[in-house]
């Protein structure tokens, strides 16, 4: 049953991406991307990853959408007609996809317990957590303790990105009569 729900949700995701690629109205594209992210969060719940699902629902379909809408407010919402033929990118995408699909025939089947991924270090964490960390949520234990340096690195990346956005969107005061001055408060809101 869970495999069936999983397949239905994945099909819906693929359909929303097809619509997203074809659309030219960027507002519709951003809203569709939000829908897509929410479908992804649902798939993650089915795949036993509630922590990731919550983060994806909040960050992917929430904060990302707000950032995209803010950027659309400051730019244009209609995509221009393409001047180049999409045949070459299409060819590249199809070839890459075919090569990857060929590769999946050597991958272990979905949902099996005896795959290399599920028999090494990841599988040991649920057994070790009660004795060593003593909290019920294994994902939190791994995130904050066993792989705490990963989280430190993540904080560093977010900090760097925040500095980058601040520097990019800083108002340039040297130029007198800059027409974009009024957009200041909106741009200042982007760095959250």
């Amino acid at each position: 049953m869970e495999a069936f729900i999983n397949m239905v949700l994945l099909t819906m995701m693929a359909a929303s991406v097809v619509a997203l690629v074809r659309m030219r109205n960027l507002f519709a594209v951003v809203i569709l991307f939000s829908v897509y992210s929410f479908l992804m969060a649902s798939v993650l719940v089915v795949l036993d990853a509630p922590d990731v699902a919550m983060t994806e629902a909040a960050v992917g379909s929430g904060v990302s959408t707000v950032l995209f809408l803010a950027a659309l407010y400051l730019t244009k919402t209609e995509e221009a007609q393409p001047r180049h033929s999409p045949l070459l990118p299409m060819f590249v995408a199809v070839v890459v996809g075919a090569a990857l699909v060929y590769g999946t025939y050597d991958m272990p089947p979905f949902g099996a317990a005896d795959t290399p991924v599920n028999t090494h270090v990841g599988a040991q964490y649920p057994g070790r957590t009660p004795a060593e960390i003593d909290i019920p949520n294994v994902v939190s234990a791994v995130l904050a303790s066993y792989r705490g340096f990963d989280t430190l690195g993540e904080v560093l990346v977010v900090f760097t990105a925040a500095i980058g956005v601040l520097l990019l969107l800083r108002r340039n005061k040297r130029r007198p009569g800059d027409a974009s001055e009024e957009a200041g408060p909106d741009r200042a809101g982007m760095e959250d």
Binding site: Y36, A49, G60, P82, T104, A112, N137
Partner: protein
């Protein structure tokens, strides 16, 4: 025929992951609008979430939150942790990319790649 059905059941997650990945790649390469490119990049990033989380799922298992049942089977928690990090890093990438797009729009008055190339050729 039976072999086809079972290979669809076994590899459907991987195939959808690949489809999302190449769709994202196609949008990044083929489309000139920079906001659209960033949406494509996001689709590519989210496909990686599926790539990591799908192999960690064990059919009949439960989320890796410990319960009293000694026979409980837990799905693999390690990919979940890696993807939690990836989601936040993805947001940082998108924020920085959109910052660049807004800045480009201020200077060139457009976010279309072709028009930007034309204007920088004129100068």
């Amino acid at each position: 025929m039976n072999g086809l059905v079972s290979s669809i059941l076994e590899h459907y997650n991987q195939w959808v992951t690949i489809f999302l990945m190449v769709a994202g790649l196609y949008v990044v390469v083929a489309r000139g609008n920079m906001v659209k490119k960033l949406v494509g990049l996001s689709v590519f990033q989210t496909s990686v979430y599926l790539l990591y989380i799908s192999p960690g799922k064990i059919l009949g298992g439960t989320a890796p939150i410990l319960i009293d049942d000694p026979n409980a089977v837990y799905s693999n928690p390690l990919p979940h942790v890696l993807i939690l990090t990836a989601i936040v890093v993805g947001l940082a990438t998108i924020a920085l990319g959109l910052g660049l797009v807004v800045r480009i729009n201020e200077v060139y008055g457009t976010v279309e790649e072709d028009e930007i190339f034309e204007r920088s050729d004129d100068e």
